[in-house]
């Protein structure tokens, strides 16, 4: 009896040990096995095909697949596979897990500075200055420096980022309104929206991704904190911005009430392209749908306006944009050299198939006219060229937001209360500053 009990225990442990040992043994074997990869391949054996995995948030069919196929055709020795992740919390978690293991992700895209920062802190991004003498500042222009972390590049900012307002030119003409000037303000926007509003047509819709564009641009100019180090979240410009938007919701009714947008999960881009709104605050990612006349048919021309400042007196407003799609190499990848080769190729022109979705390469090695032509192929007459050139391809003083997610969430919770009429504006600003202060303490 006793013996059999012992036997059982021993067998159990043996199997457990085998299973666990098997897993870790496999991983250990791999780390040993990858060493020769960094050495030059032995001459007597044909070089083994390197396989790279590239993670990005753009659906494969919207460009990345074409990019990867073009690379694979040119480079038989390095095969790249594209893996799509959704750029939200669960999606980024998936990517970070893959990065940690070093098995399934060699290259990846960063879309927010705060996320890249976290990856750098965790040692998951290669410091690019250690690889070759690719001059990021020269290739990508001065805006690239916004993506430096501790004065170093951990990724290539590959595309031009843009946030702006999409205008239905036909509705503007009907209302006798000109395309607004670049330096317009929220008061102008309010007037435009009020004049453009009709039954079943909103004056202004705002995409979630651009909802806080003016707030962020304001704080980027003013500084996140005041001179004495306290939170700047109670600045008067925000107050004015919030009040104008509140009036547009509840007095003018020219933009959806916050509760409406929240609960009906409005597909704002579809609504704009259907003509159910005259203006839409968003970014270049709408081109993907706007250029797709089959699924989103529309016969009006689209014009563009910059994100408005709060008021005329505001001097140091910065525009959301700069560069984006920051391509990093996983520091735990076994094939960093191959990955670096691909990254440079991608940034210096390989990414062109993504242009039709609005992704314009930032590298000076790419003729941006070619990219723009690609983007507008077949839909040239659907856009107002003048405002397209001034706004979408214009030069603006830009910024990258570096406020941590916790603070962004706290800010949202407070302004939600204001837009849901549960809290007055002064309390809202006070609470935002207080919660921000608590975080930076």
């Amino acid at each position: 009896m006793r013996r059999s009990k012992w036997l059982v225990t021993v067998v159990c442990f043996l199997i457990t040990a085998l299973v666990i040992g098997g897993c870790s043994g496999g991983a250990g074997g791999n780390t040993n096995g990858n060493k020769p990869n960094t050495d030059p391949a032995p001459t007597d054996k044909p070089a083994e095909k390197v396989k790279l995995k590239l993670w990005g948030a753009v659906p494969a069919e919207a460009g990345p697949q074409a990019v990867v196929e073009a690379w694979n055709a040119e480079n038989p020795d390095i095969e790249v596979e594209y893996i799509r992740f959704v750029n939200d919390d669960p999606g980024n978690l998936k990517l970070d897990t893959a990065l940690m293991t070093g098995q399934d992700a060699d290259l990846y895209m960063n879309y927010q500075l705060t996320r890249l920062q976290k990856r750098v802190d965790a040692g998951l991004a290669v410091d690019l200055s250690t690889l070759t003498d690719y001059k990021v500042d020269e290739q990508m222009g001065p805006d690239a420096a916004q993506w430096k972390i501790a004065d170093k590049y951990y990724g290539l900012p590959t595309k031009k980022n843009m946030a702006f307002i999409w205008l239905n030119k036909q509705k503007l003409d009907e209302a006798g309104l000109p395309v607004p000037p670049i330096d317009w303000t929220w008061s102008d926007l309010q007037q435009y929206a009020a004049k453009l509003k009709k039954d079943n047509v909103y004056g202004l819709l705002q995409h979630e991704a651009a909802y806080t564009a003016t707030l962020d641009g304001t704080i980027a100019g003013l500084g996140v904190t005041k001179a004495d180090g306290t939170s700047n979240f109670d600045n008067p410009l925000w107050k004015q911005n919030f009040e104008i938007l509140h009036n547009m919701m509840f007095k003018d009714k020219s933009t959806p009430e916050y509760s409406e947008q929240l609960t009906s999960k409005m597909p704002v881009d579809t609504m704009f392209l259907k003509g159910e709104a005259a203006m839409l605050t968003a970014g270049e990612f709408i081109f993907r749908n706007a250029n797709n006349l089959k699924d989103y048919p529309h016969d009006f021309q689209i014009a563009f306006a910059a994100i408005p400042r709060v008021n005329k007196e505001q001097t140091d407003f910065k525009y959301p944009g700069g560069l984006g799609d920051v391509l990093s190499i996983n520091a735990k990848s076994k094939n960093q050299e191959a990955a670096w080769k691909f990254a440079q190729w991608y940034a210096d022109g390989g990414m062109l198939p993504m242009a039709s979705g609005g992704r314009i390469p930032s590298s000076k090695s790419v003729d941006s006219k070619q990219a723009i032509d690609l983007m507008l192929k077949g839909v040239e007459d659907k856009y107002d060229r003048e405002s397209l050139n001034n706004v979408v391809f214009g030069k603006f003083e830009s910024f990258q937001l570096s406020v941590p997610q916790q603070v962004i969430d706290a800010r949202k919770e407070e302004f939600e209360k204001y837009f849901l009429n549960k809290q007055d504006i002064d309390t809202t600003l006070k609470n935002m500053a207080k919660r921000h202060q608590e975080f930076i303490k």
């Binding site: 009896m1 059999s4 036997l7 059982v8 067998v11 159990c12 199997i15 457990t16 299973v19 666990i20 919390d89 669960p90 978690l93 970070d96 897990t97 990065l99 940690m100 976290k118 990856r119 802190d121 965790a122 040692g123 998951l124 009430e257 916050y258 509760s259 409406e260 929240l262 609960t263 009906s264 999960k265 997610q405 916790q406 969430d409 919770e413 407070e414 939600e416 209360k417 849901l420 549960k422």
Partner: protein
Amino acid sequence: MKRRSWLQKQGWMGYAFILPNMLGILLFFILPALFSFVLMFTNYQFANPDVSFTGLDNFKRLFQDENFYSSIKYTAIFLLSVPVSLILAFAVALILNRSVYLKGLLRGMFFLPYISSGVAVAFVWMLLFQPTHGPINEALRWVGMVSPPGWFADPDAAMYAIDVVQIWFMMGYNMIIYLAALQEISTEQLEAAKIDGAKTGTITWKIIWPLVSPTTFLLLITGLIMTMKSFSLIQAITQGGPSGSTTILSLYVYKTAFSYYEMGYASTISWFLFAVIMLITVIQWIGQKRWVHY
């Protein structure tokens, strides 16, 4: 030495059969749970190799964290759904246990929510509760309410709206279990009471209710535990909003861990959640002697 029977000798086989499952539980539940216990005392950020022991810092932070206190409040409101759904389920089970037309169909209909897909159901409820043109507010306006609540868009009402969905969700399951309990009650007892002149109300509350009390106890305990841990329903409908007004403890843990990557602090909150569930269960276990009749 006694000769062991064939069955006894096969004992090790039993272990072998449960081994694969036990390994799974060990690897994916018990070890992570122990690991998270250790994490409680660290500042571990997900994926970040810089980890140091910070002692009781996470606990200090916990008791100063306003978001934590508000999530306790919302969890308490969410827990209200358990007793309410129990009472409703008991009432429905009583009715459906008698001879009613379309009994089978009605039973099926009440049970349907429990087996339907949570996310799909969440979307249906979002439409129903839509503040401006959703049927629920249309109906409220029709009966004369000037400004009905904004439900999922109203920080004061959102948690209660979630309660309604949760009650509707759990009722069918509770009802089926109650029905089974009601079938167990012998008709002699009920007939004897009737002959003695007991009214329906008396029979219900003095005879039937005590007789199904073990079932009530079971449903109450499992219901409270499940509700405390539940996550997907709220994540699908409001993601904890608006203004954080539906962020119950389990959602707060998720947000801290997987949005902010603060694994150490998230472990602290989740062990607190565990302690609360444990405490409630122990209190119920002790309290049951007063009202549960086996």
